[in-house]
Symmetry: C2
Subunit: 234 residues, 2 copies
Amino acid sequence: MSLTILPGAARTSSVPDKTEHAALNLHEADEAGKGRIRLDNESAILLAAEQTFARHGFKGATMAMIAEAAQLPKPNLHYYFGNKQRLYMTLLSGILRDWLVPLDYFHPQACARDAIERYVRQKMCFTFSRPEASRLFASEILHGAPLALPLLQTTLRELVNDKAAVIDSWIAQGQLKPLDSRHLLFSIWAMTQTYADFEVQIGAILGDEAEGPRAQQRAVDHVLSSVFRMCGLA
Amino acid sequence: MSLTILPGAARTSSVPDKTEHAALNLHEADEAGKGRIRLDNESAILLAAEQTFARHGFKGATMAMIAEAAQLPKPNLHYYFGNKQRLYMTLLSGILRDWLVPLDYFHPQACARDAIERYVRQKMCFTFSRPEASRLFASEILHGAPLALPLLQTTLRELVNDKAAVIDSWIAQGQLKPLDSRHLLFSIWAMTQTYADFEVQIGAILGDEAEGPRAQQRAVDHVLSSVFRMCGLA
DNA sequence: GTCTATATCTAGATAGAC
DNA sequence: GTCTATCTAGATATAGAC
């Protein structure tokens, strides 16, 4: 199941910074020379755009801000991505794909407790490692998903219904206490993402305690034990 | 404890639509005549602004959109609120105030179970009755709370620390299972608000089932029983 | 492929008539 | 107190030199 919207959308994570992958690029000989520069520039732009869109929203972010963050002239952004909306969409589709991957842990043969623990840990890992990606996606949904709605109504909906059926089977087997499986997913998403999406609020409340790996561990422990209790796995 | 940022900030909810409160306004005789029109216009603008800012974000919303929604000419918005940021701030401060009110249920003498049930129900009520207010506030936090941060670091922080102490006392009394009281609040906020902030996503997944009072009841039941289980009150 | 200079459009804000 | 007409700033996007 591929969630890519734009064909050949370049992903930040697929372009390791300085490691020499020239050998891999030799397959496309005529694209290897320019392709290297293109990939580097595109990944720099995508990284800068993710941060800028997350911080200022789609309208609030300007191409000039993104260009400065990427240390490239403004017209280069149009050269590589055509326009602002296409750049934004490229980011969105990549984030949704990464966001859904952890659901793979939910399959009928899996042990419910193990699957849920791995899922929660993966979501918390995403939250703390890519908070800007989480906020960018949250901002899109919050404002009515003007661009992502078609994806939500098809791919996401089908995937969630599949995984809800898996959870229901775990309940039928007596592995979990009865609960609404789709609402359970909504709650897990909410509890995990809040540490990225509302990071500023949490930081304001916790103060210094909010920072560092010990704070992250505390959050993971809390969410994991809460989800276990919700599922009757405590 | 007052959370008002702007002195005399007019609140939508404080202006009943057509009920005759002229008698109450007679105290300020010279403001009664114009005051009526002013209050009506201000509340129309605030209502329109809440919807528009929630839907498009601060930058994405334009004064022209708000004016059209309020059915008033653009310059009137500037006449009443000076500029876009002041209009936005007036909304923000009112929402934060309304958002914090339910925490009053948390006081040391209260029964923990009753207080938590009332709190969750109040939060869910806010979510379903004023989803745009929730999204407007969420958007502000999501983008780094450029305007609300000072409030979060003072009033919100102190209030939360107070209420966390109350929860801790309930735990010490054995009314609740041990857990991190402040993270419990983060989780309750996340689980309740997600039905407003991510309404589009949930709607896309649940389809027709997401609408109507029965869907709301289902969500309330889920969140309430989940929070009870988290607290060992199931 | 890169980037300077510029065209075009849109939005916030206001002057001034009523 | 209200609103038409307009000013100005700033943003997207592109033309065209290198």
